[in-house]
Symmetry: C2
Subunit: 533 residues, 2 copies
């Protein structure tokens, strides 16, 4: 079993996902599917080259730019085309479609790179004074429009790139807490922790590029959440800079002293403040990593097995179940699952990480449950195949977009008894909005009381893929809200989920957010337009 | 092993704790200690009788009282002496001292008993309109001054007693969630759930009288938190009534959609709204309950063992460690622990609840760790003794107060590496403030990154026990804040911790609370003076 890759990421492709060297060729069966199943007939129009991108003139008032430079240093205020284009929006499907079309109209006027908490604080004070909107920027991996500031009413927009806040500040091996800075990309953080024999255990699909600050601000959930917890479980404390001053939050693992203010900033998406330091729960690096596959007759049967594992406690570290369609598409040879023809059942991947003894015990218990619930053990190969490709799906998206397909992922979560209804509602909404798309789903995060549902939808691109995307997105959002799911289990709210989120939490829920924002950011400069309607 | 008592509680003693029939005689060794060790020479002055209590005239404007009666029914608005006295303050040491002195000056003007969410909502709207302060009232067990409204600026004060909201609304056996109403006392809730073979697993010391709504509003933590989680872990969803309308919170076990609003109301102590329904995670009632004792040479050694259990995962369901003094005082015969004289070491109680196989496995693993860390197994007797007396300490407090001692408990939590400093700081502060009190401590809640510290302090009463209490409390609060602990791990903030809490969360933390309150309760009628400075 190969180690999870922990090398630091190269700068991300400006117009798509990830390391340009890793661009994915579409596998032949996928190319076949696009034509045969979805009716994709022609590739998309070629993407704009870097030189063709239309970038608005930078609008930041020169005195503000000079004052920013006085705070962070000349070289850390960048208004060049390269910096501005690389900080334009995130990596959602519409973000990529716009960039492919050469549209950088949402570019910030400048990119500011502070080197310390105090510099962040000074930048926020300055921007509040001059009504300059600030978009906190970590890995730039948002897929929900979390990095586009509403310009109206502002003198300009700066991206506040936290890349220079990249230190492992300290390790407390007694409390098993490490203090880390928010600009660390996940692989950098893992490499620094590995020198102490430690790991965070947080591996979302955005792992190669996303930052710790982004994980916290977006309430991220990693693929191994059943074992290591979600990122919000890992945050023991944090320092937050706001235009009105700093907060230090988290004096104890848990407390009865009032609301848990950590949980106010986790998921705040830069609208309440900028996280400048994180105290995170760490684990000893696992001695063993073992992934394996199981086959279930149906999504229903596999879901029941996952539920038992989650409710009986100590489930596998990784636990994911693909529905019938995702299982079929994911397999080069569907018969690999041991069933004939299209009736290939559903693939469940279980992964175990920990020390030898603990893994052996958990694996034995889980295997007993999975077998009792009708699972057929497939051995390590499907698990290892998943582990090797675990961060590769976003690369495939770029190739699909270029090939003339529109592809999107969206996700929700609900309580176990609501899941079948939620699953049906989202599938039907997507089918209704898109004609005959391919809709696949998996469960990748389980809890005692419920689980997530993660949908991938692929369809032939129409002449206006943005409008096509918007219609499908609206239908899916409405279906999720109506079926009682949460609008996002791991992607966040951003702009794309803002209205659905407002419906989810209701008018008074929105009032709570506004009440907090008004106190911390009275000028409203922090990521305006994101999260709060 | 006896079952945890699940019988519903009788009405609580108006002037002290609990069921009057269970009043505790002071054991002879305790009486000896009071005289020999603490210099208690005479019992306290006799407590006021019910007839002697000084109750201010009820000040609620008659039209408001009539309007309240129109909402909830005549018989559910009570302004009689009995109802008012029984809703005066909570059960903190100063609360008891004041009531012993016949002082009911903090009595509400009336007690209102709504029968539904809609009635709660209507009461809140009415009270907001007429500027009548509302103190949400569950079991009345606050030990931090959580039930005393600041009268200034209000036309009156009503206690909003939720006792009539006492239904098990539904059970979802798939999601393992039960919907329960907030006025259910814990034993009632357990009895109703037991009919479905279920349990909450929440057993704080206030268990016999406290309500589910109080557990949520005060962010309660039960004695079995290592196994079943804290109450805040159990809340899947809730309905909250505010003067401006209702909130429905919690559509999924976890979400990435913004801040976790459940965590805003958990710990809000009635200042943001009134919880009218709770969706709670439930467990299958355990087949096995086994408690046992272990001896450690020192608090330090026992703490190290607990830390290992917490960090390696799946600790015992109950895990508590008494320091040297608490161990000595807690034992009728100190030599029971197997060491001679005063050097009796420290008692650790480990409890296991679950199915037979799971308990056996966890017990075996825990036993190996405890033995490796120097623990000596004492068999079931000390564990069962603890389990039988687990809800009895508050009864003893009444007897101690009557006998002429001042007794108080206070608690904090911190990260593991901070615990020794926190322990010393609080002990020294109490010793400094009180001369030569008896200061005992235990750890009863453990997490991967830290633990709670629970102090019991007993001293000879001075002529002004309230002033004596206040000085010691101030010293302890200051010590906790300075040493970096949280001001409360399970009792909450109330009025007694309000200023220390403000120091803990800082000016901007307080601003967050004020921003939320302003939006939900613009007239500021909800539990004024509690939580928010």
């Amino acid at each position: 079993m190969k180690e999870t890759p922990l090398t630091p990421a190269e700068p991300m492709l400006w117009s798509g996902w990830g390391d340009p060297a890793k661009a994915a060729e579409l596998p032949a069966p996928v190319r076949g599917l696009l034509g045969d199943l979805l009716g994709v007939r022609a590739p998309a129009a070629p993407a704009a080259t870097f030189g063709e991108v239309r970038l608005p003139a930078a609008a930041l008032p020169p005195p503000v730019q000079a004052a920013l430079a006085a705070i962070v240093g000349d070289e850390h205020v960048r208004a060049d085309d390269d910096a501005r284009i690389r900080h334009t929006r995130g990596k959602s499907t519409p973000d990529l479609l716009l960039m492919r079309a050469g549209d950088a109209s949402d570019a910030p006027d400048a990119v500011v790179l502070p080197g310390s908490h105090d510099e962040v604080a000074a930048v926020l004070r300055l921007c509040a004074e001059h009504r300059v909107a600030v978009v906190p920027f970590g890995g730039g991996t948002s897929v929900v429009g979390g990095l586009v500031a509403a310009r109206r009413g502002f003198a300009g927009v700066v991206a506040l790139d936290l890349a220079r806040l990249d230190r492992l500040v300290s390790v407390d091996p007694v409390s098993m807490i490490a203090e880390l800075e928010p600009g660390l990309r996940a692989p950098q953080a893992e490499r620094l922790l590995a020198e102490h024999g430690l790991t965070l255990g947080h591996f979302p699909q955005s792992y190669e590029y996303a930052t710790l600050g982004g994980f916290a601000a977006a309430r991220s959930s990693g693929q191994a959440s059943a074992g290591y917890g979600r990122f919000d479980d890992m945050v023991a404390g944090m320092t937050v800079a706001t235009p009105r001053g700093a907060l230090e939050i988290g004096r104890a693992p848990r407390s009865a002293a009032g609301p848990d203010l950590r949980q106010v900033f986790l998921g705040s998406e830069g609208a309440f403040g900028v996280i400048t330091s994180l105290r995170l729960r760490v684990h000893r690096a696992p001695a063993v990593r073992a992934y394996e596959g199981w086959r279930f007759e149906s999504f229903t049967a596999g879901t029941a097995a996952m539920r038992r594992l989650a409710q009986e406690g100590r489930p596998p570290t990784v636990l994911r179940l693909s529905d019938e369609t995702e299982t079929m598409v994911g397999l080069a040879k569907p018969t690999d699952l041991g069933a004939a023809g299209r009736d290939s059942g559903c693939l469940l991947v279980a992964g175990y990480e920990g020390d030898t003894c603990d893994v052996a015990h958990r694996r034995e218990r889980a295997a007993a449950v999975l077998a009792e619930e009708g699972g057929v053990h497939l051995g390590p190969e499907p698990g290892e195949k998943w582990a090797q490709g675990r961060f590769s799906a976003p690369y495939l998206r770029d190739s699909l977009l270029a090939a003339g397909a529109t592809v999107e992922t969206l996700e929700t979560a609900g309580f176990w008894s609501d899941l079948p209804r939620l699953y049906d509602a989202v599938r039907l909404a997507l089918l209704g909005a898109l004609g005959s798309p391919l809709v696949m789903c998996h469960i990748s995060h389980v809890y005692a009381t419920g689980a997530s549902l993660y949908f991938t939808v692929v369809t032939a691109q129409t002449g206006d893929p943005l409008a096509q995307w918007a219609a499908a997105k609206r239908a899916a959002n409405e279906a999720i809200v109506r079926a009682g799911g949460t609008i996002s289990h791991h992607h966040g709210v951003g702009r794309d989920h803002r209205e659905a989120y407002a419906e989810e939490i209701g008018d008074l829920g929105v009032e709570i957010l506004r009440g907090i924002k008004e106190r911390l950011d009275p000028a409203g400069i922090l990521n305006p337009g994101v999260l709060i309607p």
